[in-house]
Symmetry: C2
Subunit: 253 residues, 2 copies
DNA sequence: TTTAGTTAGTGTAAAAATGACAATAAGGTT
DNA sequence: AACCTTATTGTCATTTTTACACTAACTAAA
């Protein structure tokens, strides 16, 4: 096995045999605690048995990684139809010690194509049954992860990368509504930004900027049964968004 | 071989065997023609023999993809010490027909981790000898690529992705100086933005914004032997840049 | 039926940033 | 010395941002 001894110059120049996994960083907002959360599952087997881990798994031979991410997400968390975007490919030499042994006896390395997903509150309920090797899919606040006893593999690095990407991306691509229901109020959208970016925003100014780009479409409806003035409901106008992308419009918020 | 027939449900659920390649999109600026260029090499063997292709190759078993990119870049183009960043992982099912035959007989798929690189004019001279299977490493203007007779594999998609990433990134991360010498004038930096973004900028306003963020450090030196007022030379202050990143500073230009 | 409480939404004035462009500076060339 | 060219500074009207005051609309309690 490739791991077991120093490689000679010659052996090194054989093209590597790889296994591919996908790992998904699934983000959701908890409005009641004002926190950004993500889904972790408990690993059912070694290595890292009983450690927390990102929902992930091996990619089949005739399956694209995006499809694998969807399959695994459905199986391990019950989530379907989520915003999914490729994040980064993690390939550190010793990131997964299963390479070279067991079912992976004949592979040199196991690398992971990470995806990040955004889910709305209605989708928050994750299956607790735990498909496959995973049990106890659970939401954790990103800020509390340091309290976990252990995280599998290089998942801490993957999560850090994903959080940075989400923060960076939110500011210049309108993805905030992916974390909301289809209909939402401006205040709710504002809260998305506040929670993800980690600081409060002025409602009046946020409103002006959010409406200026004309990708939020006011509905006929208003909020109902709230003990105060009901807010206008909006929805994201994807068609209009695509038109603006064509023109190279700047969505900074 | 996995490609040769329809897979049964059972066969599909065997974890895939993958080969990994890296492909590099190497960007450089041609100031004399005001164009954004990238390096292509001619493929020496089938498939796509004699077609143009991104410098790339297989990853070894005990080599990280970034190191592979550096190795391959050095071998095929003679370039070393360049700004290199992981771009995206391309894994469409039929992107590389070599999977399942020849040296790749026992693999299901060949996926590519693409990197993009930025090189300065001094680094522009690429080796014409062509190491390995590649010959004729050559610079092409991004805008003229449609005139090429053929591009290998999914390299057109990779290039499109890379150009979008470069344009997007330039606007909010100060990477422009990676395309310049260590010492540069503000006008040169402005030209970087003009060429990459594809439109002209007002010198006075560009200067104001570029200097405002305090990451450009004026040197003692000035331009020499030009037939007009010599311009102040600057260098990028990386330390200062890192400090500002810490504070969450916005580098939009 | 008021009135108080609460959040939605509008308005505004000072400060900062932008965009267009004029004016001056500093070299070399003729 | 006069001229040419690009660098650099300055200016000003306009737009955008920021902070914050003010009005609107609804429920619930009195």
């Amino acid at each position: 096995m490739a791991n077991s001894k120093q490689l000679t110059k010659n052996e090194e120049e054989v093209f590597g045999r790889f296994r591919l996994t996908v790992d998904c960083v699934v983000f959701g907002l908890d409005f009641s605690s004002s926190s950004l959360k993500l889904v972790l599952v408990r690993r059912g087997e070694e290595p890292f048995k009983d450690c927390w881990s990102l929902p992930g798994g091996f990619v089949y031979g005739m399956e694209e990684t995006r499809a694998a991410a969807q399959r695994i997400l459905a199986k391990k968390t019950g989530l379907g139809d989520v915003f999914l975007e490729q994040l980064y490919t993690f390939d550190a030499l010793k990131r997964d010690e299963r390479a070279g042994s067991g079912l992976n006896k004949d592979v040199d390395r196991i690398i992971s194509v990470a995806y990040f997903a955004l889910v709305s509150p209605a989708q928050h309920r994750v299956e607790q049954t735990g498909g496959g090797n995973a049990t106890d899919a659970t939401w954790f606040a990103v800020d509390d992860l340091s309290e976990l006893d252990c995280l599998s593999f290089d998942h801490e690095l993957i999560i850090e990368t994903a959080v940075n990407r989400l923060r960076g991306k939110l500011s210049y691509v309108p993805i905030g509504f992916e974390l909301l229901e289809r209909k939402f109020t401006l205040k709710e959208l504002q809260r998305v930004y506040e929670i993800v970016l980690g600081h409060n925003l002025d409602s009046s100014n946020f409103r002006r900027r959010a409406l200026r780009m004309k990708i939020l479409e006011p509905l006929e409806e208003k909020q109902e049964s709230v003990a105060h003035r009901p807010a206008q409901l909006y929805r994201f106008n994807e068609k209009r968004y695509r038109e603006l992308v064509e023109k190279g419009f700047d969505f900074e918020l």
